[in-house]
Symmetry: C2
Subunit: 201 residues, 2 copies
DNA sequence: TGCTATTCGTACTGTGTGGTACCAAAACAA
DNA sequence: TTGTTTTGGTACCACACAGTACGAATAGCA
Protein backbone atom coordinates (compact mmCIF):
# COMPACT_ATOMS: atom_id res chain seq x y z
CA UNK A 1 0.00 0.00 0.00
CA UNK A 2 2.17 2.87 -1.16
CA UNK A 3 -0.82 4.90 -2.34
CA UNK A 4 -2.03 7.30 0.33
CA UNK A 5 -4.82 9.57 -0.89
CA UNK A 6 -5.10 12.42 1.66
CA UNK A 7 -8.73 12.92 0.61
CA UNK A 8 -8.66 16.41 -0.93
CA UNK A 9 -10.87 18.93 0.81
CA UNK A 10 -11.80 20.66 -2.42
CA UNK A 11 -13.08 19.68 -5.82
CA UNK A 12 -15.92 17.64 -7.18
CA UNK A 13 -16.58 14.60 -5.02
CA UNK A 14 -15.63 11.34 -6.70
CA UNK A 15 -18.37 8.88 -7.45
CA UNK A 16 -16.07 6.13 -8.69
CA UNK A 17 -15.30 3.37 -6.24
CA UNK A 18 -11.77 2.25 -7.08
CA UNK A 19 -12.07 -0.92 -5.04
CA UNK A 20 -15.18 -1.97 -6.89
CA UNK A 21 -13.60 -1.21 -10.27
CA UNK A 22 -10.57 -3.24 -9.30
CA UNK A 23 -12.84 -6.05 -8.26
CA UNK A 24 -14.59 -5.99 -11.62
CA UNK A 25 -11.25 -5.97 -13.45
CA UNK A 26 -9.77 -8.77 -11.37
CA UNK A 27 -12.83 -10.94 -11.83
CA UNK A 28 -12.97 -10.30 -15.58
CA UNK A 29 -9.26 -11.04 -16.07
CA UNK A 30 -9.62 -14.10 -13.92
CA UNK A 31 -12.77 -15.64 -15.36
CA UNK A 32 -11.74 -15.25 -18.97
CA UNK A 33 -8.13 -14.26 -19.74
CA UNK A 34 -6.16 -11.05 -19.26
CA UNK A 35 -5.39 -10.93 -22.98
CA UNK A 36 -9.05 -11.17 -23.91
CA UNK A 37 -10.38 -8.37 -21.71
CA UNK A 38 -10.07 -4.82 -23.04
CA UNK A 39 -10.01 -1.61 -21.08
CA UNK A 40 -13.22 -0.64 -22.85
CA UNK A 41 -14.95 -3.79 -21.65
CA UNK A 42 -13.88 -3.21 -18.06
CA UNK A 43 -15.14 0.37 -18.13
CA UNK A 44 -18.47 -0.83 -19.45
CA UNK A 45 -18.75 -3.57 -16.84
CA UNK A 46 -17.80 -1.19 -14.04
CA UNK A 47 -20.08 1.55 -15.31
CA UNK A 48 -17.38 4.21 -15.50
CA UNK A 49 -15.75 6.23 -18.26
CA UNK A 50 -12.33 5.52 -19.67
CA UNK A 51 -10.72 8.76 -18.47
CA UNK A 52 -11.86 7.95 -14.94
CA UNK A 53 -10.13 4.60 -15.12
CA UNK A 54 -6.97 6.13 -16.53
CA UNK A 55 -6.94 8.82 -13.86
CA UNK A 56 -7.01 6.10 -11.22
CA UNK A 57 -4.63 3.50 -12.69
CA UNK A 58 -2.57 5.41 -15.22
CA UNK A 59 -2.51 2.77 -17.90
CA UNK A 60 -3.69 -0.70 -18.78
CA UNK A 61 -0.46 -1.97 -17.25
CA UNK A 62 -1.26 -0.14 -14.01
CA UNK A 63 -4.73 -1.62 -13.91
CA UNK A 64 -3.65 -5.19 -14.55
CA UNK A 65 -0.87 -4.83 -12.03
CA UNK A 66 -3.30 -3.57 -9.41
CA UNK A 67 -5.69 -6.41 -10.25
CA UNK A 68 -2.87 -8.91 -9.83
CA UNK A 69 -1.88 -7.37 -6.50
CA UNK A 70 -5.45 -7.70 -5.31
CA UNK A 71 -5.58 -11.28 -6.49
CA UNK A 72 -2.38 -12.10 -4.67
CA UNK A 73 -3.78 -10.69 -1.44
CA UNK A 74 -7.21 -12.20 -1.68
CA UNK A 75 -6.61 -15.56 -3.30
CA UNK A 76 -2.98 -16.49 -3.66
CA UNK A 77 -2.35 -15.90 0.02
CA UNK A 78 -4.44 -19.00 0.68
CA UNK A 79 -1.85 -21.16 -1.03
CA UNK A 80 0.90 -19.72 1.09
CA UNK A 81 -1.16 -20.48 4.16
CA UNK A 82 -1.41 -24.11 3.10
CA UNK A 83 2.32 -24.30 2.45
CA UNK A 84 3.22 -22.74 5.78
CA UNK A 85 0.74 -24.84 7.70
CA UNK A 86 3.48 -27.05 9.05
CA UNK A 87 1.22 -30.10 9.04
CA UNK A 88 3.82 -32.43 7.60
CA UNK A 89 4.59 -33.61 4.09
CA UNK A 90 1.63 -35.87 3.36
CA UNK A 91 -1.02 -33.64 4.91
CA UNK A 92 0.25 -30.53 3.14
CA UNK A 93 0.46 -32.29 -0.22
CA UNK A 94 -3.08 -33.54 0.27
CA UNK A 95 -4.25 -30.05 1.08
CA UNK A 96 -2.57 -28.76 -2.08
CA UNK A 97 -4.25 -31.49 -4.09
CA UNK A 98 -7.61 -30.61 -2.60
CA UNK A 99 -7.12 -26.95 -3.34
CA UNK A 100 -5.99 -27.43 -6.93
CA UNK A 101 -8.49 -30.14 -7.83
CA UNK A 102 -11.68 -29.19 -6.05
CA UNK A 103 -11.66 -25.71 -4.57
CA UNK A 104 -14.45 -23.80 -6.32
CA UNK A 105 -12.29 -20.70 -6.49
CA UNK A 106 -10.03 -22.45 -8.97
CA UNK A 107 -12.91 -23.56 -11.14
CA UNK A 108 -11.99 -21.12 -13.88
CA UNK A 109 -8.28 -21.32 -13.26
CA UNK A 110 -5.85 -18.99 -11.57
CA UNK A 111 -5.27 -15.40 -12.65
CA UNK A 112 -1.60 -15.58 -11.78
CA UNK A 113 -1.01 -18.69 -13.88
CA UNK A 114 -2.95 -17.18 -16.76
CA UNK A 115 -0.78 -14.09 -16.63
CA UNK A 116 2.37 -16.14 -16.35
CA UNK A 117 1.38 -18.21 -19.36
CA UNK A 118 0.94 -15.06 -21.45
CA UNK A 119 3.78 -13.14 -19.85
CA UNK A 120 5.00 -11.57 -23.08
CA UNK A 121 1.64 -9.88 -23.61
CA UNK A 122 1.77 -8.03 -20.28
CA UNK A 123 2.94 -4.52 -19.59
CA UNK A 124 6.30 -4.09 -17.86
CA UNK A 125 4.99 -3.44 -14.35
CA UNK A 126 2.60 -6.37 -14.38
CA UNK A 127 5.31 -8.58 -15.81
CA UNK A 128 7.69 -7.67 -13.02
CA UNK A 129 4.99 -8.40 -10.44
CA UNK A 130 4.33 -11.80 -12.02
CA UNK A 131 7.99 -12.64 -11.79
CA UNK A 132 8.13 -11.54 -8.17
CA UNK A 133 5.16 -13.70 -7.25
CA UNK A 134 6.66 -16.59 -9.17
CA UNK A 135 9.88 -16.28 -7.21
CA UNK A 136 8.00 -16.04 -3.93
CA UNK A 137 6.08 -19.19 -4.82
CA UNK A 138 9.27 -21.02 -5.66
CA UNK A 139 10.77 -20.00 -2.36
CA UNK A 140 7.69 -21.12 -0.44
CA UNK A 141 7.69 -24.52 -2.14
CA UNK A 142 11.40 -24.86 -1.46
CA UNK A 143 11.02 -23.95 2.20
CA UNK A 144 8.23 -26.47 2.56
CA UNK A 145 10.27 -29.25 0.99
CA UNK A 146 13.33 -28.33 2.99
CA UNK A 147 11.31 -28.63 6.19
CA UNK A 148 10.08 -32.05 5.08
CA UNK A 149 13.64 -33.10 4.39
CA UNK A 150 14.79 -31.85 7.77
CA UNK A 151 12.04 -33.93 9.34
CA UNK A 152 13.29 -36.98 7.43
CA UNK A 153 9.92 -37.22 5.70
CA UNK A 154 11.39 -36.97 2.24
CA UNK A 155 14.37 -39.01 1.02
CA UNK A 156 17.40 -37.63 -0.79
CA UNK A 157 18.03 -38.13 -4.46
CA UNK A 158 16.47 -34.91 -5.68
CA UNK A 159 17.52 -31.36 -4.92
CA UNK A 160 15.12 -29.15 -3.02
CA UNK A 161 15.15 -26.63 -5.86
CA UNK A 162 14.25 -29.21 -8.49
CA UNK A 163 11.56 -30.64 -6.25
CA UNK A 164 10.12 -27.20 -5.62
CA UNK A 165 10.00 -26.39 -9.30
CA UNK A 166 8.41 -29.75 -10.05
CA UNK A 167 5.81 -29.31 -7.34
CA UNK A 168 4.97 -25.81 -8.48
CA UNK A 169 4.59 -26.81 -12.10
CA UNK A 170 2.36 -29.75 -11.28
CA UNK A 171 0.05 -27.52 -9.25
CA UNK A 172 0.01 -25.00 -12.10
CA UNK A 173 -0.78 -27.72 -14.60
CA UNK A 174 -3.66 -29.03 -12.51
CA UNK A 175 -5.23 -25.61 -12.03
CA UNK A 176 -4.78 -24.72 -15.68
CA UNK A 177 -6.63 -27.89 -16.58
CA UNK A 178 -9.45 -26.80 -14.28
CA UNK A 179 -9.75 -23.68 -16.42
CA UNK A 180 -10.08 -25.73 -19.58
CA UNK A 181 -13.00 -27.65 -18.18
CA UNK A 182 -11.32 -30.91 -17.36
CA UNK A 183 -13.10 -33.27 -14.97
CA UNK A 184 -11.91 -32.45 -11.41
CA UNK A 185 -11.78 -36.13 -10.52
CA UNK A 186 -9.41 -36.75 -13.43
CA UNK A 187 -7.29 -33.81 -12.42
CA UNK A 188 -7.10 -35.07 -8.86
CA UNK A 189 -6.11 -38.50 -10.10
CA UNK A 190 -3.30 -37.11 -12.26
CA UNK A 191 -2.04 -34.64 -9.67
CA UNK A 192 -2.02 -37.34 -7.00
CA UNK A 193 0.01 -39.52 -9.35
CA UNK A 194 2.44 -36.71 -10.09
CA UNK A 195 2.96 -35.89 -6.42
CA UNK A 196 3.25 -39.52 -5.38
CA UNK A 197 6.94 -39.24 -6.19
CA UNK A 198 7.36 -37.31 -2.95
CA UNK A 199 5.79 -39.95 -0.73
CA UNK A 200 7.21 -43.16 -2.14
CA UNK A 201 10.66 -44.69 -1.72
CA UNK B 1 -4.64 -33.86 -50.05
CA UNK B 2 -8.13 -32.92 -51.12
CA UNK B 3 -6.89 -29.91 -53.07
CA UNK B 4 -6.29 -30.78 -56.69
CA UNK B 5 -5.34 -27.79 -58.80
CA UNK B 6 -5.68 -28.88 -62.46
CA UNK B 7 -3.17 -26.19 -63.39
CA UNK B 8 -5.25 -23.86 -65.59
CA UNK B 9 -3.98 -23.53 -69.15
CA UNK B 10 -5.01 -19.89 -69.39
CA UNK B 11 -4.61 -16.74 -67.34
CA UNK B 12 -1.74 -14.89 -65.79
CA UNK B 13 0.85 -17.33 -64.44
CA UNK B 14 1.02 -17.38 -60.68
CA UNK B 15 4.21 -16.22 -59.07
CA UNK B 16 3.20 -17.10 -55.53
CA UNK B 17 4.59 -20.31 -54.13
CA UNK B 18 1.91 -21.59 -51.77
CA UNK B 19 4.25 -24.10 -50.16
CA UNK B 20 6.77 -21.43 -49.33
CA UNK B 21 4.09 -19.13 -47.94
CA UNK B 22 2.78 -21.95 -45.81
CA UNK B 23 6.27 -22.60 -44.58
CA UNK B 24 6.70 -18.97 -43.60
CA UNK B 25 3.37 -19.00 -41.79
CA UNK B 26 4.04 -22.26 -39.98
CA UNK B 27 7.46 -21.09 -38.84
CA UNK B 28 6.15 -17.73 -37.69
CA UNK B 29 3.25 -19.25 -35.76
CA UNK B 30 5.61 -21.80 -34.30
CA UNK B 31 8.51 -19.61 -33.27
CA UNK B 32 6.39 -16.95 -31.62
CA UNK B 33 2.69 -17.69 -31.03
CA UNK B 34 -0.29 -18.03 -33.35
CA UNK B 35 -2.12 -15.26 -31.51
CA UNK B 36 0.78 -12.86 -31.95
CA UNK B 37 1.27 -13.24 -35.70
CA UNK B 38 -1.02 -11.22 -37.95
CA UNK B 39 -1.96 -11.91 -41.54
CA UNK B 40 -0.26 -8.65 -42.46
CA UNK B 41 2.99 -9.81 -40.89
CA UNK B 42 2.90 -13.11 -42.74
CA UNK B 43 2.29 -11.39 -46.06
CA UNK B 44 5.22 -9.10 -45.44
CA UNK B 45 7.52 -11.96 -44.44
CA UNK B 46 6.46 -14.04 -47.43
CA UNK B 47 6.72 -11.09 -49.82
CA UNK B 48 3.18 -11.40 -51.16
CA UNK B 49 0.05 -9.26 -51.08
CA UNK B 50 -2.88 -9.86 -48.82
CA UNK B 51 -5.37 -10.66 -51.60
CA UNK B 52 -2.98 -13.32 -52.89
CA UNK B 53 -2.95 -14.98 -49.50
CA UNK B 54 -6.73 -14.81 -49.18
CA UNK B 55 -7.15 -16.25 -52.68
CA UNK B 56 -5.08 -19.22 -51.65
CA UNK B 57 -6.30 -19.88 -48.11
CA UNK B 58 -9.68 -18.17 -47.94
CA UNK B 59 -9.30 -16.75 -44.45
CA UNK B 60 -6.98 -16.52 -41.49
CA UNK B 61 -8.62 -19.64 -40.19
CA UNK B 62 -7.83 -21.44 -43.46
CA UNK B 63 -4.22 -20.34 -43.28
CA UNK B 64 -3.68 -21.39 -39.68
CA UNK B 65 -5.42 -24.67 -40.32
CA UNK B 66 -3.17 -25.35 -43.32
CA UNK B 67 -0.12 -24.39 -41.27
CA UNK B 68 -1.19 -26.80 -38.53
CA UNK B 69 -1.73 -29.57 -41.07
CA UNK B 70 1.75 -29.01 -42.41
CA UNK B 71 3.16 -29.02 -38.90
CA UNK B 72 1.40 -32.28 -38.11
CA UNK B 73 2.90 -33.89 -41.22
CA UNK B 74 6.39 -32.54 -40.84
CA UNK B 75 6.94 -32.48 -37.09
CA UNK B 76 4.22 -34.14 -35.07
CA UNK B 77 4.53 -37.35 -37.09
CA UNK B 78 7.90 -37.84 -35.42
CA UNK B 79 6.21 -38.25 -32.06
CA UNK B 80 3.87 -40.88 -33.42
CA UNK B 81 6.87 -42.73 -34.81
CA UNK B 82 8.44 -42.81 -31.37
CA UNK B 83 5.19 -44.03 -29.79
CA UNK B 84 4.71 -46.76 -32.38
CA UNK B 85 8.31 -47.87 -32.25
CA UNK B 86 7.45 -50.93 -30.20
CA UNK B 87 10.73 -50.77 -28.32
CA UNK B 88 9.19 -51.46 -24.92
CA UNK B 89 8.07 -49.23 -22.10
CA UNK B 90 11.36 -47.93 -20.75
CA UNK B 91 13.02 -47.34 -24.11
CA UNK B 92 10.01 -45.51 -25.52
CA UNK B 93 9.64 -43.34 -22.44
CA UNK B 94 13.33 -42.49 -22.67
CA UNK B 95 12.93 -41.58 -26.32
CA UNK B 96 10.01 -39.33 -25.44
CA UNK B 97 12.06 -37.68 -22.71
CA UNK B 98 14.91 -37.12 -25.15
CA UNK B 99 12.61 -35.62 -27.72
CA UNK B 100 10.81 -33.30 -25.31
CA UNK B 101 13.88 -32.20 -23.37
CA UNK B 102 16.62 -31.94 -25.95
CA UNK B 103 15.44 -32.14 -29.54
CA UNK B 104 16.39 -28.83 -31.15
CA UNK B 105 13.10 -28.74 -33.02
CA UNK B 106 11.28 -28.24 -29.72
CA UNK B 107 13.55 -25.43 -28.65
CA UNK B 108 10.83 -22.84 -29.15
CA UNK B 109 8.02 -25.14 -28.18
CA UNK B 110 5.41 -26.97 -30.19
CA UNK B 111 2.95 -25.26 -32.52
CA UNK B 112 0.23 -27.75 -31.67
CA UNK B 113 0.54 -27.21 -27.94
CA UNK B 114 0.60 -23.45 -28.44
CA UNK B 115 -2.60 -23.64 -30.46
CA UNK B 116 -4.20 -25.95 -27.94
CA UNK B 117 -3.32 -23.56 -25.10
CA UNK B 118 -5.02 -20.69 -26.92
CA UNK B 119 -7.81 -22.76 -28.42
CA UNK B 120 -10.51 -20.15 -27.87
CA UNK B 121 -8.65 -17.67 -30.04
CA UNK B 122 -8.60 -19.96 -33.08
CA UNK B 123 -10.99 -20.04 -35.99
CA UNK B 124 -13.49 -22.91 -36.14
CA UNK B 125 -11.63 -25.04 -38.70
CA UNK B 126 -8.30 -24.77 -36.94
CA UNK B 127 -9.97 -25.50 -33.63
CA UNK B 128 -11.55 -28.67 -34.97
CA UNK B 129 -8.20 -29.78 -36.36
CA UNK B 130 -6.54 -29.17 -32.99
CA UNK B 131 -9.15 -31.31 -31.30
CA UNK B 132 -8.68 -34.06 -33.86
CA UNK B 133 -4.94 -34.09 -33.35
CA UNK B 134 -5.43 -34.04 -29.60
CA UNK B 135 -7.69 -37.08 -29.80
CA UNK B 136 -5.24 -38.88 -32.08
CA UNK B 137 -2.45 -38.18 -29.62
CA UNK B 138 -4.51 -39.48 -26.73
CA UNK B 139 -5.26 -42.63 -28.68
CA UNK B 140 -1.61 -43.16 -29.53
CA UNK B 141 -0.55 -42.73 -25.91
CA UNK B 142 -3.29 -45.12 -24.82
CA UNK B 143 -2.31 -47.76 -27.38
CA UNK B 144 1.29 -47.50 -26.27
CA UNK B 145 0.40 -47.94 -22.61
CA UNK B 146 -2.01 -50.77 -23.40
CA UNK B 147 0.78 -52.61 -25.21
CA UNK B 148 3.04 -52.13 -22.20
CA UNK B 149 0.34 -53.50 -19.94
CA UNK B 150 -0.20 -56.49 -22.20
CA UNK B 151 3.54 -57.16 -22.01
CA UNK B 152 3.33 -57.03 -18.20
CA UNK B 153 5.75 -54.08 -18.22
CA UNK B 154 3.38 -51.82 -16.38
CA UNK B 155 1.42 -52.75 -13.25
CA UNK B 156 -2.27 -52.24 -12.67
CA UNK B 157 -3.68 -49.60 -10.38
CA UNK B 158 -4.18 -46.91 -12.98
CA UNK B 159 -6.46 -46.98 -15.98
CA UNK B 160 -4.90 -46.83 -19.42
CA UNK B 161 -6.93 -43.70 -20.22
CA UNK B 162 -5.78 -41.86 -17.12
CA UNK B 163 -2.20 -42.92 -17.75
CA UNK B 164 -2.39 -41.76 -21.35
CA UNK B 165 -3.75 -38.38 -20.35
CA UNK B 166 -1.10 -38.02 -17.67
CA UNK B 167 1.68 -38.97 -20.06
CA UNK B 168 0.44 -36.58 -22.71
CA UNK B 169 0.13 -33.67 -20.32
CA UNK B 170 3.59 -34.21 -18.89
CA UNK B 171 5.11 -34.17 -22.37
CA UNK B 172 3.13 -31.03 -23.18
CA UNK B 173 4.30 -29.39 -19.99
CA UNK B 174 7.93 -30.19 -20.70
CA UNK B 175 7.80 -28.85 -24.26
CA UNK B 176 5.92 -25.74 -23.17
CA UNK B 177 8.68 -25.10 -20.66
CA UNK B 178 11.20 -25.37 -23.48
CA UNK B 179 9.38 -22.53 -25.18
CA UNK B 180 9.68 -20.35 -22.10
CA UNK B 181 13.43 -20.74 -22.03
CA UNK B 182 13.75 -23.19 -19.18
CA UNK B 183 17.04 -25.05 -18.84
CA UNK B 184 16.74 -28.32 -20.81
CA UNK B 185 18.59 -30.23 -18.10
CA UNK B 186 16.03 -29.08 -15.54
CA UNK B 187 13.19 -30.02 -17.84
CA UNK B 188 14.68 -33.46 -18.35
CA UNK B 189 15.05 -33.90 -14.62
CA UNK B 190 11.43 -32.98 -13.97
CA UNK B 191 10.02 -34.98 -16.85
CA UNK B 192 12.03 -38.02 -15.81
CA UNK B 193 10.65 -37.66 -12.32
CA UNK B 194 7.10 -37.33 -13.60
CA UNK B 195 7.37 -40.38 -15.82
CA UNK B 196 9.10 -42.47 -13.17
CA UNK B 197 5.64 -43.40 -11.94
CA UNK B 198 5.37 -45.73 -14.93
CA UNK B 199 8.53 -47.66 -14.19
CA UNK B 200 8.35 -48.06 -10.46
CA UNK B 201 6.27 -50.42 -8.34
C1' DT C 1 -6.10 -8.49 -83.14
C1' DG C 2 -9.54 -9.15 -79.82
C1' DC C 3 -11.57 -12.07 -76.08
C1' DT C 4 -11.48 -14.67 -72.01
C1' DA C 5 -9.41 -16.43 -67.97
C1' DT C 6 -6.52 -16.05 -64.11
C1' DT C 7 -3.35 -13.72 -60.87
C1' DC C 8 -1.37 -9.58 -59.46
C1' DG C 9 -1.16 -5.69 -55.94
C1' DT C 10 -2.87 -0.86 -54.52
C1' DA C 11 -5.91 1.13 -51.90
C1' DC C 12 -9.65 0.88 -49.45
C1' DT C 13 -13.57 -0.62 -45.71
C1' DG C 14 -15.14 -1.26 -41.04
C1' DT C 15 -14.13 -2.49 -36.40
C1' DG C 16 -11.68 -2.60 -32.12
C1' DT C 17 -7.78 -1.11 -29.51
C1' DG C 18 -5.12 1.86 -25.90
C1' DG C 19 -5.02 6.45 -24.79
C1' DT C 20 -6.30 11.66 -24.50
C1' DA C 21 -8.14 16.79 -25.27
C1' DC C 22 -11.40 19.17 -23.55
C1' DC C 23 -15.16 21.06 -21.19
C1' DA C 24 -19.02 20.71 -17.86
C1' DA C 25 -20.22 19.58 -13.06
C1' DA C 26 -19.55 19.95 -8.30
C1' DA C 27 -17.34 20.88 -4.31
C1' DC C 28 -14.50 24.34 -1.04
C1' DA C 29 -12.13 28.93 -0.29
C1' DA C 30 -11.78 33.87 -0.93
C1' DT D 1 -20.05 36.09 -5.93
C1' DT D 2 -15.91 34.74 -7.92
C1' DG D 3 -12.02 31.93 -8.35
C1' DT D 4 -9.70 27.30 -7.63
C1' DT D 5 -9.54 22.56 -7.50
C1' DT D 6 -10.90 18.05 -8.49
C1' DT D 7 -13.80 14.56 -10.94
C1' DG D 8 -17.06 13.56 -14.48
C1' DG D 9 -17.81 11.94 -19.29
C1' DT D 10 -18.18 12.93 -24.57
C1' DA D 11 -15.87 12.73 -28.41
C1' DC D 12 -12.04 12.24 -30.41
C1' DC D 13 -6.91 10.44 -31.94
C1' DA D 14 -3.69 7.23 -34.27
C1' DC D 15 -2.98 2.60 -35.02
C1' DA D 16 -3.48 -2.32 -36.06
C1' DC D 17 -6.44 -5.73 -37.42
C1' DA D 18 -9.09 -9.02 -40.85
C1' DG D 19 -10.97 -8.77 -45.09
C1' DT D 20 -12.20 -6.85 -50.05
C1' DA D 21 -13.26 -3.91 -54.51
C1' DC D 22 -11.18 -3.18 -58.39
C1' DG D 23 -8.26 -2.30 -62.20
C1' DA D 24 -3.78 -3.57 -64.22
C1' DA D 25 -0.93 -7.38 -65.82
C1' DT D 26 -0.16 -11.61 -68.27
C1' DA D 27 -1.16 -15.69 -70.22
C1' DG D 28 -3.83 -18.96 -74.00
C1' DC D 29 -7.31 -19.18 -77.52
C1' DA D 30 -10.22 -17.39 -81.39
Amino acid sequence: MSEADPKPTRGRPKTMNAEQVLDVAMTAYWQSDPADVSVNAICQMAGISKPSLYREFGSEDGLSRAALDRYAEQVLSEMFVILNGGTGLRATLDALIDFASDDPRMETGCLFYKMRAGKHRLGPDTKVRVEEIDAAGQAAYAAFLQAARDAREWPDGLSVEAGAKYLGEQIALAITQRASGEDPARIREMLTLALSVFTRP
